[in-house]
């Protein structure tokens, strides 16, 4: 599904990714771990097309398409979703209006008719239930005045609405209490199917107790330095990242 080859990227002239190789297949859950500043969030930003980053080398193919040649919105239409570490508050834009625009633009991209108002509201209701998102939140402006937990649930709600093929969850566990973490993780697990895949970016093992990865990667200084099974996450939890640095 996703093939990253020797990806280099920089921001304001500073190289952050220094040759990332990664392959994700349908049905898999990958975890990317690593210390602060290793390039985890940069990788998600580059894959989704954030304009602040410049790709300086390498390639990314997504279901056979050259991902890096697509606009951010077309990457989304092709099925790429990023759950933001810090979801943006957008005062004055209602969740309903925002989601209706997003869903219908995706449908148009795929040559489908826009959803009727009734069908759209029905879809909103169904998907809200997955993350127990209050109707009142759905009626408000995007993320405005939401608590940390509500924002993360709102991300997973949008993921449910858009049914992506590949979801990247960037530090989805940060700022969550244990109940919210459970709800978010259950939401992600509910949405897991044989034909989609998930990349979980996290600092800690904690989230991986709820979302079981098939493969764990360690990103360090802009490169993936180690790949293993779920046991690698446990090892990192126990030993920290320092032992990797020693191998440098």
């Amino acid at each position: 599904m996703l093939k990253i080859k020797d990806l280099h990227a920089s921001i304001e002239g500073k190289e952050i990714l220094k040759g990332v190789d990664l392959e994700v297949n349908a049905g898999e859950v990958h975890a990317i771990m690593g210390p602060n500043g290793s390039g985890k969030s940069t990788l998600s930003a580059v894959l989704t097309g954030h304009p602040a980053y410049t790709v300086t080398g390498g390639s990314v193919s997504f279901n056979g398409k050259d991902l890096l040649a697509l606009s951010p919105e077309d990457r989304a239409h092709e099925g790429l979703f990023l759950s933001f570490q810090y979801p943006v508050e957008i005062p004055g834009v209602s969740m309903v209006n925002f989601m209706r625009t997003a869903v219908n633009e995706k449908r148009r991209y795929h040559g489908e008719e826009p959803l009727s108002a009734a069908d759209f509201l029905k879809l909103m209701r169904e998907k809200r239930a997955i993350v127990q998102l209050d109707n009142k939140l759905a009626a408000r402006s995007v993320n405005e005045g939401f608590s940390g937990g509500e924002k993360k649930r709102n991300e997973i709600f949008q993921m449910a609405m858009l049914e992506p093929k590949l979801s990247i969850l960037d530090e989805t566990d940060s700022g969550l209490d244990i109940d919210a973490l459970r709800i978010v993780a259950e939401g992600v697990n509910t949405l897991k199917r044989a034909d989609n895949a998930t990349i979980v970016i996290t600092h800690y093992q904690r989230l991986l107790d709820y979302i079981k990865p098939d493969v764990v990667h360690v990103l360090y200084k802009g490169r993936i330095v180690k790949t293993g099974g779920p046991e690698l996450a446990l090892e990192l939890e126990e030993k920290g990242y320092d032992w990797l640095k020693d191998n440098d």
Binding site: T48, G49, P51, S71, E73, L82, I90, G92, V93, E105
Partner: protein, 442 residues
Amino acid sequence: MQQYIDIYNEHRRAIEQQSPAAMNAARERALATLLTGAVPARGSDDYEATDLGEIFAPDYGVNINRVAFPAVPATFNCALPTLSAAPFHVVNDTFHAPQNAQLAPGVVVCAMRDADARCPGVLERYYNRLAADGGDITVALNTLLAQDGVLIHVPRGVNNDKPIQLINILNAAATLMAVRRVLIVLDDGAQASVLMCDHTADATRRYLNLQVVEIHLGRDARLQYYEMEESSATTGRVSSLLARQERGSSLLVDSITLNNGITRNNYRIDIDDEQCSTTLLGMAIAGAGQHVDNHTLINHRAPRCKSHEMFKYSLDDDAIGAFAGKIYVAPGCPGVDAYQGNRNLCGSPRARMYTKPQLEIYTDDVKCSHGATVGQLDREALFYMQQRGVSLEAARTLLKQAFMSDIVDAVQLPALRERLRHLVERRFTGADALCNNCTLSH
């Protein structure tokens, strides 16, 4: 400016013959003001970003002999038909009343020439009272040349619950200056809402709308006044609104510029007694070649009054926006609570915004503050929306609409609020001719 003074001198008799005595009585002083005052240059104190000389430079004709234009051009269709079943029209500067105006008993909406018959004494008492020392040379020019106008009078204690809608249309076969004059008088305890829509029906001609609106609010009177400009690139507008509030009165003025050529709006609100509340709101959306300049003065001349002012601009392409707002608090006015805000969005590196907030306070025990910002659309918010599949263009539109949403939400007439929301969306999605082709089936 001289060419218009010449017109007056040459056609003085014709002008006076067409006009009520109260209008004629005001002309001498206006002429003196014009003869002694120079046209302020661009860059001068009150005209930092707007070239008044350039606005008046085209050789506009004035309809001295009151040539009749069609009451309402056949092609014309207003954006707000649900608001008032029977709107009043002003074509250029001639007033037309509908057959079946729906007004509360005693309420008069009439041409100034009919004022003596319809509500004796009102015009004499109030006409030009605020405009005489209005200061601006353009007000004097209006007073010099105005031949007719609209009088709205709501008598003591009457609540005219349906909005009074005035649709102003520019439509002539020549380059024309419409000299519009409006007087709104609400006696003690009266209530009304007024909506003025400015349109240009034939946008192949150049027009100038030279307008003066005077508003008098008696004790405990309540007025909502909305003015919406939806004209054309060929239209200039120089408008002055002068209002005076008596004890306990409440005034909302909402200035909306959706489409225009070059616009200069002056607002001066004199708060003359205690317990008044004043809200002055503004929205300007401007794109290529458009210029919007709002100049405001909230004149606190009495203790314990509250005023709130907020103007928002969204500028694209090479649009120019200007805002100058002064809050003045006279000596001996404790307990005044005044806020002024001006928030601006520049959607293009070529757009220019000039903002000048001023507080002038001569009483210690008051609460006055202001804030002015000029910024761009939030890049992180745009990317967030793009990541969800919203195109950059649609994301920009959503953010711009969101930026204006508090001004739209502050409209107190539900039908106007919904209509305005729709018109703002259409404006930002690039739909032209907002009003002329708009349907209500959405």
